[in-house]
Symmetry: C3
Subunit: 335 residues, 3 copies
Amino acid sequence: MKKVLFATTALIATASVAAADVRISGYGRFGLDYNDANDRAVNGVSKTTITSRLRLQFDMSAETDSGVAFDARFRAQSESRDNVNQGSNPSGAAFNGARFGVSYQGFRVNVGNIIGAVENMPGLYLETRTAGIGIDGAGFVSNVGNVNGEYFNWDAYSSAGFGVNGIEALYSTGGFTGHISYSTRNGAVAVDRFGVMLAYTFGDWTIAAANQSSDIMWEDKTLVSVAWDGGQFGARVAYADNDGISKFGIYGNMDIGSASNLLVFYTDEDAVDAGDVLAGRNDNRDAVAGSNQQEGGSYGIHYSYDLGGGASFEAGYRRASNDNDTFQAGVYFSF
Amino acid sequence: MKKVLFATTALIATASVAAADVRISGYGRFGLDYNDANDRAVNGVSKTTITSRLRLQFDMSAETDSGVAFDARFRAQSESRDNVNQGSNPSGAAFNGARFGVSYQGFRVNVGNIIGAVENMPGLYLETRTAGIGIDGAGFVSNVGNVNGEYFNWDAYSSAGFGVNGIEALYSTGGFTGHISYSTRNGAVAVDRFGVMLAYTFGDWTIAAANQSSDIMWEDKTLVSVAWDGGQFGARVAYADNDGISKFGIYGNMDIGSASNLLVFYTDEDAVDAGDVLAGRNDNRDAVAGSNQQEGGSYGIHYSYDLGGGASFEAGYRRASNDNDTFQAGVYFSF
Amino acid sequence: MKKVLFATTALIATASVAAADVRISGYGRFGLDYNDANDRAVNGVSKTTITSRLRLQFDMSAETDSGVAFDARFRAQSESRDNVNQGSNPSGAAFNGARFGVSYQGFRVNVGNIIGAVENMPGLYLETRTAGIGIDGAGFVSNVGNVNGEYFNWDAYSSAGFGVNGIEALYSTGGFTGHISYSTRNGAVAVDRFGVMLAYTFGDWTIAAANQSSDIMWEDKTLVSVAWDGGQFGARVAYADNDGISKFGIYGNMDIGSASNLLVFYTDEDAVDAGDVLAGRNDNRDAVAGSNQQEGGSYGIHYSYDLGGGASFEAGYRRASNDNDTFQAGVYFSF
């Protein structure tokens, strides 16, 4: 058993002779997940389970004589939630679909398992290591693009699947980033998704907006965010119109001492429009009470403590608008 | 095509700057397997087939400022037995479920695809490179925990599957190791397995005992072993009560010259108890003769020759208590 | 994210201390595929799609004290054709079946996912980076072993599957290579494939011949090739008798300037013999016109431009004997 990875200083010495390379990186995270939606008598899952993920990522690259660079990425991740294997293979994990890229200075084109313009919008995910609450994101209810059971209905890099096999172009200069993406599905009629995203950072501020236009019902959406990063303190607001369902969020975080960070959020989601329901939209109505389960407020709190060496302790609680409570605590380490 | 792994001397130079790393290791083994249970006319498999395995293992780790270490492991292995793919994917191999660990000095906690307390008992497996006879273990009939078709019915690290998604704690100090493990399955009623193992090494001697308490029928078991390693000679006895079926084994091995080792074993297994059969226990009774096929003695012999550079020649014959004969010979190399 | 692979100069420094190692290599390729056989209204696939592949290969090796070397190989490749995942896993890619080898001087024995004697014949594939036309080979109609829908019906290394689990021996000395291979399938009756290949290179010339004898219908075949490599210019002829269906091919390529190469080919395939059709052979007859679709000429042209750093631009057009047209263009980079 021998060491594969070397630290930065060793790399500098050889960087001038390597025209093509493979980089390996990733992270492990594991902890306990309390979820009051789980109940052995109801769904066969204990209220408290192990939540874990091991991600191993391979990044390949080559640079031509003219300075144009090619790269590709895929990853394998083994994962457990609710005491069930979430990996991409019955045994654990296979590699996901690959993303290929060509880049030159600030310009980049990707094909395959693309990032996606909406997914890439700053201010969409939480400022935590998991991009959500707790160890595994706890369902990402803080994301203003997620409403009414229509979660993650935009083109995005798939960590455990083949992805949308799309194409996208990105351009960055100074604090500005522009991003357009496109994907289509096989079938007798073209079913396309177009995405566009613009972001600008000036001083402590970042503003961003994104739009997806899709041939699939209920997937047209427009999102905006404004974030302020003042060093010890950070604040953000975000809003999305998800094909008629509005959701806004407000987010704040602060460093405590030299190693801790505390984050809180609140989001509020509109009810499904009555006209949409007539048009066939699922409104996730509560079978007993008759109320829309997703409508209303969600909130959460997350605490992080840096353990050094790329490791940290992470813990978070959140209450979703459907009254689902989760609390997770565990560790996270990168390599 | 470039070299990834470096030898130990190169690692020392960089160890001080690497806080997190990935290590790659594994082995290849391949050879021929003669198994008289195979017959084209009966099960469609030739009596002599290729047996092979390629294991590629990734070990990730990070160490915090306080000296607490985190680690994770998974592996991919492509394998053939009886001319059939045994890998974790129809095409060959995917990664198995991950094991995550946190350790500090002699203390360790693992979650996920755990080792398992019973599995970790010294004196359970043969003192060969395959931990059994021949190239692929030849069914591991020498293991006193394997009886009556109830093979490997304890929590153990799964090389080709997701594993039991359990939790375990280990503590080692001096020659002592203590190990407890726990796993549960989803379902309306909790189905748990608890394991405990204690081992102690003093001078040339190692004594060990383990117990599994399971909510699944026929899985409660207690195992003990005593082993003596006298350098050129080694000897061991082991005994297990497998929910009423006793099995004991005696094992001996000796070095011959500078590169060879010869190992022999004999095990004896009790018949299934009549009361157990009434209670529904399968007794693997011979359809024609009416005798219990697993009852009685198994024996085997294994020869190993060190070829240097991490490679060796391995050959072994064993006769199981059901009169099944296998002979395997081939090579094994680590990397 | 840290660099794994080092360039050659770094390796030399440590080569003397490494007895066993793992090497990682591979390539990425991606581009657009126009295929007039695709039509949303007919098969649900757009005429123009992304074609891509990411291959990650692991080569393990160990060398014994006597100089006998052991090695093993497997790879994972994520791939898309016709906007459909072609990888070995629903999510993308798993590892394929492993090939194991033992070698000493010019002699080598492999088991498992073997190369195959016919597959290894020089002059069987095109002199391009994809071994065919365009980015993904465009169906490999230029290969004289591919006739009448009986494509790739010989033992060959499988990149995305488990392979034939065979055994083969190769011997090379000077310009001579000899290769025999064997595989069998499970079943009540042995179904075997034997292959043999001989090749000889002298000066600018390489001549080669191969034969497969198979217990499966329509798989007996004999192939020959003669190739001339004159530096700036290259030429080749190939011929195969595919169990009664003759196919010949003529191939030429030339360097243009310092970075470009242009290749052209023409192949001609006989019709299926009437006696064979009576014996049950599929003749791929056109449902409307009544003519044999595979019979007759195929041709193609391929252009390659070296971008440096292991990357190149590749483009190719080919027309198959069934009047199918494809044009592909994109990039290819190795790491």
